[in-house]
Amino acid sequence: MSDFGYVLLKNRHIDYEANDKRIAEYIYAREPSFGYCMECGCCAGTCTSGNFTHLSLREINILIKRGETSTIKEQIDKCMLCGKCTLVCPRGVNTRNIIILAGEAIQKLEANEL
């Protein structure tokens, strides 16, 4: 790699070639409000589960959009679907449906249906 005079940390790399956008496409097609998210993090701030453990819908959204889907299944399983995130979202994102759709998409991905 050419020397730019600075280095990129490994965990900051986004490898678009290797990333899998199928989950993102699945959600976009069924829940257009997925695209409204401006990643403010209100959802993560109010999260009932997030009070006890690491669960951030904001992070999930970013990861899905980037296509880095290897870790999200574990996170999605933590959601209790209580709906607080939907209420606080300033952009009117239908957050619960995103979680449900992401779960569906992962299942379909595992069954090679996507």
Binding site: M80, L81, C82, G83, L87, N94
Partner: protein
């Protein structure tokens, strides 16, 4: 004259449908669980039998509930059902009294005029002919309304009418043909023989004056028999199956059988009892506020019956229960939707005609493989010993004033309480249940149950109707569970809470899960009329509206929710109350965003008028009080 070829289609149809209904009923009975079988047997030889007979008369024939919804619609249904019933009963009596023999086969009564066309001989016969004509005219008037309803549903007082499948349309046409063809057949026969009363007689005379009545009568008797035969043959494949199955449903319900949470034969009976009358479509706020007209219960049940893909319909429902409250058949729609949500998978299958008439008996689904627990990471809950548990609920944490008000009420009444989810608790599990993930919900239920149990309390008070419903239905706590409105009423009645009266007018919005969902209508109103002037709205109790914020629907977007909320808020604030009062944090949030009127929870109002001085000091932070102070300041 004892037999004619044209009676054959009618006879085939009649004996087929009798055999079919008996066969299906026996299969359904055998598929009931052991307890339900016993219930049905006990019911059949007990009081339930007479209750059922009464209900069959008032609902299946007179359609009392539909009359209550809309008189014109009621008239339409009554005239067709009760009219047809009278025609059959009086027809049978007529054939027995005035025919040549007693105990005739059914076709003799149905085609009586053909076999006995001669004019009336005695006064009684004249009167009887008049009665039969009157009944026929009664049915025809209802039929006229039914035809009108297909073209303009508004004419019979319905906003929308159900869209029909092709087979339904064929059956509907044959049903529509039954009565006009009987009228014409009887009229032509009467015209030819100079008999008949005010309807068939006069019409017959008029027709006979320019038409060959005797020759024309015969084809119309054929048409009459054919349309009856077609209707009976198609009945099992169409919505008209509700006519025989509803009787079974009424017996089963009166015997104490409930839907429960498992799919079974009682669910099937209810699905077949739906008449697709469309009253659920009119009741649905998604229909009249948001223009979504394809997800209502009539379509869901039809979809399940016909094995059409309903996976999109199932989650797209607010589960407010308005349709269930209005359903004239009394189908337990909410439990059926919950069952459907749990197994919302569509398996397309090729359905041969024979399979459609005689579907496979339902087998219990294969047990799912065990899933690893999802919430094992939740830390052990801490609980203090107290007499009363206060569980605010997730939504109340977004409306902190409700929490504060409740705490000040507890303090004022000197209650020994513990606030279990003060630091943000674990969800009650109902949202997961509503999206069909019962297994995950069970984990949360056992976590919370343990937490509650450790406090040693004998009373659980919650501020959230969503939590209240699931605590009542799915938690086996063995302690008293109260919504805070019920608890405040109890405190007032126990003289533990002294309250002033505030000279403000309020309208009450009954939250779905508290009102229709749990049957708590009176306590909130009692408390409200104790502290303020409660105004009536057009949407009280079972007819109350949904705020649109419901957690049950994951499919609709925010603008759609806002449409529902705006409509509901407009209706509820028509009388311009000072406060729109609700008893649910979610309703408060949803309405707060769409109306100018102040939206408050009952606990907030009550906390404002507590007489105890210490509580007043605590109350000074309440938003309502604060708002007032700011206004005064501005005026100065």
């Amino acid at each position: 004259m004892n037999f004619e070829l044209f009676v054959i289609p009618f006879n085939i149809g009649l004996y087929f449908i009798i055999f079919y209904v008996v066969y299906r009923s026996v299969v359904w009975f055998l598929d009931l669980s052991r307890q339900d079988k016993l219930r049905l047997q006990r019911g059949f030889f007990g009081r339930a039998f007479w209750q059922s007979i009464k209900e069959i008369f008032s609902e299946s024939l007179l359609h009392r509930k539909i009359w209550k919804t809309n008189a014109r619609l009621g008239y339409m249904h009554t005239s067709l059902a009760f009219g047809w019933f009278l025609l059959i009963i009086f027809g049978t009596i007529e054939a027995d009294l005035f025919g040549t023999s007693h105990l005739n086969p059914p076709y003799k009564a149905i085609f009586f005029k053909y076999f006995h066309p001669e004019p009336a001989r005695s006064g009684i016969e004249v009167a009887y002919a008049f009665l039969m004509d009157l009944i026929l005219a009664y049915i025809l008037s209802g039929l006229f309304l039914a035809v009108l309803k297909r073209f303009s549903s508004k004419s019979v007082g319905m906003k929308k009418t159900t869209k029909l499948l092709t087979l339904d349309k064929v059956a509907l046409t044959s049903l529509w043909l039954v009565f006009p063809s009987r009228l014409l057949a009887e009229s032509f026969t009467s015209g030819a023989y100079g008999s008949g009363s005010f309807l068939t007689g006069s019409l017959g005379n008029a027709l006979a004056s320019f038409l060959p009545a005797e020759q024309l009568a015969y084809p119309f008797w054929w048409l009459y028999s054919l349309s009856l035969g077609t209707f009976f043959i198609l009945l099992p494949l169409t919505r008209y199956m509700h006519i025989p199955i509803e009787l079974f449903l009424i017996f089963a319900r009166n015997s104490g059988i409930k839907t429960g949470d498992q799919k079974g034969s009682y669910t099937d009976i209810q699905i077949y009892s739906c008449s697709s009358c469309g009253i659920c479509i009119d009741a649905c706020q998604l229909s009249f506020s948001a223009g979504i007209n394809n997800i209502q219960t009539a379509y869901l049940l039809k979809g399940i019956r016909e094995n059409i893909d309903v996976t999109d319909i199932v989650p797209n429902c607010l589960m407010c229960g308005r349709c269930e409250a209005k359903c004239p058949v009394g189908i337990e729609i909410m439990p059926i939707r919950m069952i459907q949500r749990r197994e919302n998978i569509y398996l397309p299958s090729e359905r041969k005609l024979l399979k459609r008439y005689f579907p496979d008996r339902k087998k219990s689904p294969a047990p799912k493989p065990p899933v690893p627990p999802s919430y094992s990471w939740i830390p052990e809950g801490r609980s203090e010993k107290a007499k009363v548990i206060y569980f605010a609920g997730c939504m109340s944490h977004l409306t902190p004033t409700i929490k504060k008000s409740m705490l000040s009420i507890f303090e004022a009444a000197g209650v020994d309480y513990t606030f279990v989810d003060e630091e943000g608790g674990v969800c009650c599990g109902r949202p997961l249940m509503l999206s069909g993930q019962t297994k995950k919900a069970r984990e949360l239920i056992s976590y919370n149950s343990k937490l509650f149990y450790e406090t040693g309390a004998d009373m659980l008070v919650t501020s959230c109707p969503i939590c209240y419903k699931v605590f009542k239905e799915s938690y086996k706590l063995g302690i008293d569970i109260m919504h805070h409105t019920q608890y405040i009423k109890k405190l007032i009645n126990d003289d533990a809470l002294k309250l002033n009266f505030m000279h403000k007018t309020v309208s009450y919005h009954s939250p779905c899960d508290l009102g229709r969902g749990s049957g708590v209508y009176d306590e909130p109103k009692y408390v409200l009329s104790y502290v303020a002037r409660l105004q009536e709205t057009e949407f009280e109790d079972e007819n109350s509206l949904c705020c649109g914020g419901s957690l049950a629907n994951t499919k609709i977007d925010n603008p759609t929710r806002a449409l529902i909320a705006k409509d509901a808020a407009r209706e509820l604030t028509k009388n311009r109350p000072d406060y729109l009062v609700t008893a649910c944090p979610l309703c408060k949030k949803t309405f707060g965003a769409v109306t100018e009127t102040d939206v408050v929870d009952i606990s907030e109002l009550v906390a404002q008028v507590i007489v105890v001085p210490q509580a007043k000091r605590l109350m000074s932070n309440s938003p309502i009080m604060r708002k007032k102070k700011v206004t005064v300041k501005n005026n100065c």
